[in-house]
Protein backbone atom coordinates (compact mmCIF):
# COMPACT_ATOMS: atom_id res chain seq x y z
CA UNK A 1 0.00 0.00 0.00
CA UNK A 2 1.31 3.45 -0.86
CA UNK A 3 1.63 5.83 2.02
CA UNK A 4 1.75 9.61 1.86
CA UNK A 5 4.11 11.36 4.23
CA UNK A 6 2.03 14.24 5.56
CA UNK A 7 4.20 16.72 7.48
CA UNK A 8 2.93 17.63 10.91
CA UNK A 9 3.04 21.17 12.25
CA UNK A 10 5.88 21.67 14.73
CA UNK A 11 5.22 25.25 15.81
CA UNK A 12 1.80 26.62 16.71
CA UNK A 13 0.06 29.42 14.84
CA UNK A 14 -0.17 32.70 16.75
CA UNK A 15 -3.91 33.44 16.99
CA UNK A 16 -5.37 36.56 15.40
CA UNK A 17 -6.55 37.75 18.81
CA UNK A 18 -2.90 38.14 19.84
CA UNK A 19 -1.54 39.75 16.67
CA UNK A 20 -4.42 42.24 16.41
CA UNK A 21 -3.73 43.64 19.89
CA UNK A 22 -0.41 44.93 18.59
CA UNK A 23 -2.30 47.52 16.48
CA UNK A 24 0.65 47.45 14.12
CA UNK A 25 -0.19 48.83 10.64
CA UNK A 26 2.87 47.26 9.05
CA UNK A 27 2.08 43.76 10.27
CA UNK A 28 -1.60 44.24 9.39
CA UNK A 29 -0.61 45.25 5.86
CA UNK A 30 1.52 42.10 5.49
CA UNK A 31 -1.38 39.88 6.63
CA UNK A 32 -3.96 41.58 4.41
CA UNK A 33 -1.66 41.41 1.40
CA UNK A 34 -1.06 37.75 2.10
CA UNK A 35 -4.80 36.92 1.95
CA UNK A 36 -5.15 38.72 -1.37
CA UNK A 37 -1.98 37.59 -3.12
CA UNK A 38 -1.64 34.17 -1.47
CA UNK A 39 2.05 34.66 -0.87
CA UNK A 40 3.51 34.46 1.65
CA UNK A 41 0.83 32.16 3.06
CA UNK A 42 -0.87 33.73 6.10
CA UNK A 43 0.15 30.63 8.07
CA UNK A 44 3.83 31.55 7.53
CA UNK A 45 3.14 35.00 8.94
CA UNK A 46 1.29 33.42 11.88
CA UNK A 47 4.31 31.21 12.59
CA UNK A 48 6.92 33.93 12.63
CA UNK A 49 4.56 36.15 14.66
CA UNK A 50 5.92 34.24 17.68
CA UNK A 51 8.80 36.71 17.55
CA UNK A 52 7.59 40.18 16.64
CA UNK A 53 11.00 41.84 16.11
CA UNK A 54 12.22 38.97 13.97
CA UNK A 55 9.00 38.97 11.98
CA UNK A 56 9.24 42.69 11.32
CA UNK A 57 12.86 42.54 10.13
CA UNK A 58 12.31 39.38 8.11
CA UNK A 59 9.13 40.51 6.40
CA UNK A 60 10.60 43.92 5.58
CA UNK A 61 13.57 42.30 3.91
CA UNK A 62 11.38 39.86 1.95
CA UNK A 63 8.78 42.45 0.96
CA UNK A 64 11.29 44.93 -0.36
CA UNK A 65 13.38 42.43 -2.26
CA UNK A 66 10.35 40.76 -3.87
CA UNK A 67 8.15 43.80 -4.50
CA UNK A 68 10.19 46.99 -4.45
CA UNK A 69 13.42 46.03 -6.10
CA UNK A 70 14.80 46.81 -9.53
CA UNK A 71 14.31 43.45 -11.26
CA UNK A 72 10.99 42.49 -12.89
CA UNK A 73 8.61 40.72 -10.51
CA UNK A 74 7.95 37.75 -12.81
CA UNK A 75 11.64 36.84 -12.75
CA UNK A 76 11.68 36.91 -8.96
CA UNK A 77 8.57 34.75 -8.74
CA UNK A 78 10.25 32.24 -11.04
CA UNK A 79 13.31 32.20 -8.80
CA UNK A 80 11.15 31.84 -5.70
CA UNK A 81 9.27 28.86 -7.06
CA UNK A 82 12.19 27.09 -8.71
CA UNK A 83 14.69 27.45 -5.86
CA UNK A 84 12.12 26.24 -3.33
CA UNK A 85 11.53 23.23 -5.56
CA UNK A 86 15.26 22.55 -6.05
CA UNK A 87 15.59 22.69 -2.25
CA UNK A 88 12.74 20.18 -1.86
CA UNK A 89 10.45 22.73 -0.25
CA UNK A 90 6.89 23.78 -0.83
CA UNK A 91 6.33 27.25 -2.30
Amino acid sequence: MNTVDIPRPRLSLVPGEVVETWNDPEIEAHFRTSYIEGTPPPTSLSLDAHNRDTQRAGRRFMWFIFHEGLVEHRLKELLRVKIASWRNCDY
Partner: protein
Protein backbone atom coordinates in the same frame (compact mmCIF):
# COMPACT_ATOMS: atom_id res chain seq x y z
CA UNK B 1 3.56 30.53 -17.43
CA UNK B 2 2.15 27.07 -17.84
CA UNK B 3 3.02 24.38 -15.29
CA UNK B 4 5.09 22.63 -17.98
CA UNK B 5 7.07 25.79 -18.72
CA UNK B 6 7.55 26.35 -15.00
CA UNK B 7 8.85 22.83 -14.54
CA UNK B 8 11.31 23.20 -17.40
CA UNK B 9 12.40 26.74 -16.45
CA UNK B 10 16.05 26.64 -15.50
CA UNK B 11 16.88 24.06 -18.16
CA UNK B 12 19.13 25.20 -20.99
CA UNK B 13 16.42 24.64 -23.59
CA UNK B 14 13.54 26.12 -21.59
CA UNK B 15 10.81 27.75 -23.68
CA UNK B 16 8.96 30.92 -22.77
CA UNK B 17 11.76 32.10 -20.52
CA UNK B 18 13.64 35.30 -21.32
CA UNK B 19 17.47 35.46 -21.41
CA UNK B 20 17.43 37.41 -18.13
CA UNK B 21 15.24 34.77 -16.50
CA UNK B 22 17.45 31.99 -17.84
CA UNK B 23 20.58 33.66 -16.46
CA UNK B 24 18.99 34.16 -13.03
CA UNK B 25 17.72 30.57 -12.95
CA UNK B 26 21.13 29.23 -14.00
CA UNK B 27 22.66 31.03 -11.05
CA UNK B 28 19.95 29.81 -8.66
CA UNK B 29 20.41 26.23 -9.82
CA UNK B 30 24.20 26.46 -9.44
CA UNK B 31 23.71 27.77 -5.90
CA UNK B 32 21.44 24.84 -5.05
CA UNK B 33 23.43 22.03 -6.63
CA UNK B 34 26.99 23.25 -7.28
CA UNK B 35 27.58 26.08 -4.81
CA UNK B 36 31.23 25.13 -4.07
CA UNK B 37 31.99 25.69 -7.77
CA UNK B 38 30.44 29.15 -8.11
CA UNK B 39 33.07 31.58 -9.40
CA UNK B 40 33.77 34.76 -11.30
CA UNK B 41 32.28 33.39 -14.53
CA UNK B 42 28.88 32.96 -12.84
CA UNK B 43 28.81 36.65 -11.97
CA UNK B 44 30.03 37.61 -15.45
CA UNK B 45 27.17 35.53 -16.85
CA UNK B 46 24.70 37.57 -14.79
CA UNK B 47 26.35 40.88 -15.66
CA UNK B 48 25.83 40.19 -19.37
CA UNK B 49 22.07 40.71 -18.91
CA UNK B 50 21.78 42.59 -15.60
CA UNK B 51 23.16 45.88 -14.34
CA UNK B 52 25.38 45.66 -11.25
CA UNK B 53 22.50 46.68 -8.96
CA UNK B 54 20.16 44.15 -10.57
CA UNK B 55 22.79 41.41 -10.28
CA UNK B 56 23.11 42.13 -6.55
CA UNK B 57 19.33 41.87 -6.19
CA UNK B 58 19.16 38.54 -8.05
CA UNK B 59 22.04 37.09 -6.05
CA UNK B 60 20.61 38.23 -2.70
CA UNK B 61 17.19 36.89 -3.54
CA UNK B 62 18.74 33.53 -4.44
CA UNK B 63 20.66 33.61 -1.16
CA UNK B 64 17.47 34.13 0.85
CA UNK B 65 15.46 31.60 -1.11
CA UNK B 66 18.21 29.02 -0.56
CA UNK B 67 17.50 28.96 3.17
CA UNK B 68 14.17 30.63 3.93
CA UNK B 69 11.77 27.93 2.71
CA UNK B 70 13.76 25.22 4.54
CA UNK B 71 13.29 27.19 7.75
CA UNK B 72 9.52 27.24 7.26
CA UNK B 73 9.52 23.55 6.41
CA UNK B 74 11.46 22.85 9.61
CA UNK B 75 8.65 24.51 11.55
CA UNK B 76 6.11 22.20 9.91
CA UNK B 77 4.50 25.02 7.92
CA UNK B 78 3.36 22.60 5.25
CA UNK B 79 1.41 20.65 7.87
CA UNK B 80 -1.08 23.52 7.94
CA UNK B 81 -1.88 23.05 4.25
CA UNK B 82 -4.37 20.72 2.63
CA UNK B 83 -3.33 19.55 -0.85
CA UNK B 84 -0.73 22.30 -0.92
CA UNK B 85 -3.15 25.07 -0.05
CA UNK B 86 -4.03 26.92 3.14
CA UNK B 87 -7.68 26.32 4.01
CA UNK B 88 -8.46 29.02 6.55
CA UNK B 89 -11.57 27.29 7.89
CA UNK B 90 -9.58 24.11 8.64
CA UNK B 91 -6.94 25.83 10.79
CA UNK B 92 -6.94 25.36 14.57
CA UNK B 93 -7.05 29.12 15.21
CA UNK B 94 -8.44 32.23 13.54
CA UNK B 95 -5.58 34.06 11.86
CA UNK B 96 -5.02 37.80 12.18
CA UNK B 97 -7.07 40.18 10.01
CA UNK B 98 -8.99 37.40 8.29
CA UNK B 99 -12.22 39.36 8.51
CA UNK B 100 -10.67 42.61 7.32
CA UNK B 101 -9.23 40.79 4.33
CA UNK B 102 -12.74 39.85 3.18
CA UNK B 103 -13.93 43.47 3.26
CA UNK B 104 -13.91 45.78 0.27
CA UNK B 105 -12.02 48.43 2.21
CA UNK B 106 -8.73 49.39 0.55
CA UNK B 107 -5.79 47.80 2.29
CA UNK B 108 -3.07 49.95 3.69
CA UNK B 109 0.17 49.90 1.73
CA UNK B 110 3.21 48.27 3.29
CA UNK B 111 4.91 51.28 4.92
CA UNK B 112 8.48 52.10 4.01
CA UNK B 113 10.64 51.20 7.00
CA UNK B 114 13.17 53.53 8.52
CA UNK B 115 16.40 52.60 6.76
CA UNK B 116 19.55 51.95 8.73
CA UNK B 117 22.41 54.11 7.52
CA UNK B 118 24.91 52.21 5.40
CA UNK B 119 27.93 53.90 7.04
CA UNK B 120 26.58 52.92 10.49
CA UNK B 121 26.02 49.32 9.40
CA UNK B 122 29.49 49.17 7.86
CA UNK B 123 31.05 50.74 10.92
CA UNK B 124 29.47 48.14 13.20
CA UNK B 125 30.48 45.35 10.82
CA UNK B 126 34.07 46.62 10.72
CA UNK B 127 34.28 46.73 14.51
CA UNK B 128 32.74 43.29 15.07
CA UNK B 129 33.70 41.63 11.79
CA UNK B 130 30.13 40.43 11.79
CA UNK B 131 28.77 40.29 9.14
CA UNK B 132 31.88 40.42 6.94
CA UNK B 133 32.23 44.08 5.94
CA UNK B 134 33.09 42.96 2.39
CA UNK B 135 29.63 41.36 2.09
CA UNK B 136 27.93 44.63 3.05
CA UNK B 137 30.18 46.50 0.62
CA UNK B 138 29.14 44.06 -2.10
CA UNK B 139 25.49 44.89 -1.36
CA UNK B 140 26.10 48.61 -1.03
CA UNK B 141 25.51 49.72 -4.66
CA UNK B 142 21.89 48.53 -4.29
CA UNK B 143 19.48 51.21 -3.02
CA UNK B 144 17.55 48.98 -0.57
CA UNK B 145 19.34 45.74 0.19
CA UNK B 146 22.20 46.80 2.46
CA UNK B 147 19.61 48.41 4.77
CA UNK B 148 17.04 45.61 4.79
CA UNK B 149 19.49 42.68 4.77
CA UNK B 150 21.66 44.47 7.32
CA UNK B 151 18.67 45.20 9.57
CA UNK B 152 17.58 41.55 9.46
CA UNK B 153 21.10 40.38 10.33
CA UNK B 154 21.29 42.88 13.20
CA UNK B 155 17.90 41.79 14.54
CA UNK B 156 18.45 38.05 14.50
CA UNK B 157 22.21 37.48 14.75
CA UNK B 158 23.61 40.38 16.73
CA UNK B 159 20.47 41.23 18.76
CA UNK B 160 17.32 39.37 19.77
CA UNK B 161 16.14 37.30 22.71
CA UNK B 162 18.39 34.22 22.41
CA UNK B 163 21.77 34.58 24.10
CA UNK B 164 24.35 35.93 21.67
CA UNK B 165 26.78 33.02 22.25
CA UNK B 166 24.33 30.61 20.63
CA UNK B 167 23.86 32.78 17.57
CA UNK B 168 27.63 33.16 17.27
CA UNK B 169 28.07 29.39 17.54
CA UNK B 170 25.58 29.07 14.69
CA UNK B 171 27.71 31.50 12.68
CA UNK B 172 30.86 29.45 13.30
CA UNK B 173 29.10 26.23 12.31
CA UNK B 174 27.90 27.83 9.09
CA UNK B 175 31.36 29.16 8.26
CA UNK B 176 32.90 25.75 8.93
CA UNK B 177 30.30 23.92 6.85
CA UNK B 178 30.68 26.17 3.82
CA UNK B 179 34.46 26.30 4.34
CA UNK B 180 34.49 30.06 4.49
CA UNK B 181 36.49 31.14 7.57
CA UNK B 182 36.05 34.77 6.53
CA UNK B 183 32.34 34.52 7.37
CA UNK B 184 33.21 34.03 11.07
CA UNK B 185 36.89 34.96 11.48
CA UNK B 186 38.60 34.08 14.75
CA UNK B 187 39.38 37.75 15.37
CA UNK B 188 35.69 38.72 15.28
CA UNK B 189 34.91 40.56 18.51
CA UNK B 190 31.38 39.13 18.44
CA UNK B 191 32.95 35.69 18.82
CA UNK B 192 35.55 36.58 21.41
CA UNK B 193 32.98 38.51 23.50
CA UNK B 194 30.83 35.36 23.49
CA UNK B 195 33.78 33.26 24.72
CA UNK B 196 34.12 31.39 21.44
CA UNK B 197 37.70 30.45 20.60
CA UNK B 198 39.71 27.61 19.16
CA UNK B 199 38.22 25.01 21.56
CA UNK B 200 34.69 25.64 20.32
CA UNK B 201 35.77 25.92 16.70
CA UNK B 202 37.69 22.64 16.90
CA UNK B 203 34.69 20.89 18.47
CA UNK B 204 32.36 22.15 15.75
CA UNK B 205 34.83 21.17 13.04
CA UNK B 206 35.08 17.66 14.54
CA UNK B 207 31.28 17.50 14.94
CA UNK B 208 31.86 16.75 18.62
CA UNK B 209 29.25 18.84 20.38
CA UNK B 210 29.80 17.31 23.84
CA UNK B 211 31.75 20.37 24.99
CA UNK B 212 28.58 22.46 24.67
CA UNK B 213 25.59 22.80 26.99
CA UNK B 214 22.39 20.92 26.18
CA UNK B 215 20.81 24.14 24.99
CA UNK B 216 23.76 24.93 22.72
CA UNK B 217 23.79 21.38 21.39
CA UNK B 218 20.09 21.57 20.54
CA UNK B 219 20.59 24.84 18.64
CA UNK B 220 23.64 23.50 16.82
CA UNK B 221 21.89 20.26 15.77
CA UNK B 222 19.04 22.36 14.37
CA UNK B 223 21.58 24.55 12.55
CA UNK B 224 23.35 21.46 11.17
CA UNK B 225 20.08 20.23 9.69
CA UNK B 226 19.25 23.51 7.99
CA UNK B 227 22.80 24.09 6.74
CA UNK B 228 23.50 20.50 5.70
CA UNK B 229 20.64 18.67 4.04
CA UNK B 230 18.17 21.49 4.66
CA UNK B 231 15.98 18.99 6.54
CA UNK B 232 15.50 18.76 10.30
CA UNK B 233 14.44 15.44 11.80
CA UNK B 234 11.64 15.07 14.35
CA UNK B 235 14.18 14.05 17.01
CA UNK B 236 16.31 17.14 16.48
CA UNK B 237 13.27 19.39 16.52
CA UNK B 238 11.90 17.73 19.66
CA UNK B 239 15.22 18.43 21.42
CA UNK B 240 15.06 22.02 20.20
CA UNK B 241 11.54 22.46 21.59
CA UNK B 242 12.66 21.05 24.92
CA UNK B 243 15.26 23.81 25.26
CA UNK B 244 13.76 26.83 23.49
CA UNK B 245 10.45 28.68 23.37
CA UNK B 246 8.65 29.05 20.05
CA UNK B 247 9.69 32.70 19.95
CA UNK B 248 13.33 31.72 20.35
CA UNK B 249 13.05 29.01 17.70
CA UNK B 250 11.76 31.56 15.20
CA UNK B 251 14.80 33.73 15.90
CA UNK B 252 17.21 30.78 15.58
CA UNK B 253 15.63 29.80 12.26
CA UNK B 254 15.95 33.28 10.81
CA UNK B 255 19.51 33.59 12.13
CA UNK B 256 20.49 30.57 10.03
CA UNK B 257 18.41 31.53 7.00
CA UNK B 258 19.84 35.01 6.63
CA UNK B 259 23.34 33.49 6.46
CA UNK B 260 22.77 30.10 4.81
CA UNK B 261 22.87 31.17 1.18
CA UNK B 262 24.68 34.47 1.79
CA UNK B 263 27.76 32.76 3.26
CA UNK B 264 28.02 30.42 0.24
CA UNK B 265 27.75 33.31 -2.17
CA UNK B 266 30.22 35.35 -0.15
CA UNK B 267 32.69 32.45 -0.34
CA UNK B 268 32.35 32.38 -4.11
CA UNK B 269 32.89 36.14 -4.33
CA UNK B 270 36.20 36.06 -2.50
CA UNK B 271 38.93 36.79 -5.00
CA UNK B 272 36.51 37.93 -7.70
CA UNK B 273 36.29 41.42 -9.16
CA UNK B 274 32.90 41.80 -7.44
CA UNK B 275 34.59 42.33 -4.07
CA UNK B 276 37.33 44.64 -5.29
CA UNK B 277 37.22 48.21 -3.91
CA UNK B 278 35.15 50.58 -5.98
Amino acid sequence: MTEKQLTKAGDADAEGVTPREQAALRFGKRLCYEWPDLNQSDYEDLLRVFSEQEMIEVVTLCAWQFGGPNMLTSWGAEGYKRDGKVVLEALPVRLAYMDAAKSEAPRAPIPHPPMLSIPDLLDRAMQRRSPPPAWLKFLSPHPILPGTWGALYEAVVESGIVENRIKQLQRVLLAEYVQCPAWAPEASTSLTAAGIGSRERTAIRAQDLTVFSRREQAALRYTEGLVGTGQVSDAVFDDLKAEFTESEIVELGYAVSVQNGASRIFRSLLGTKCLQPR
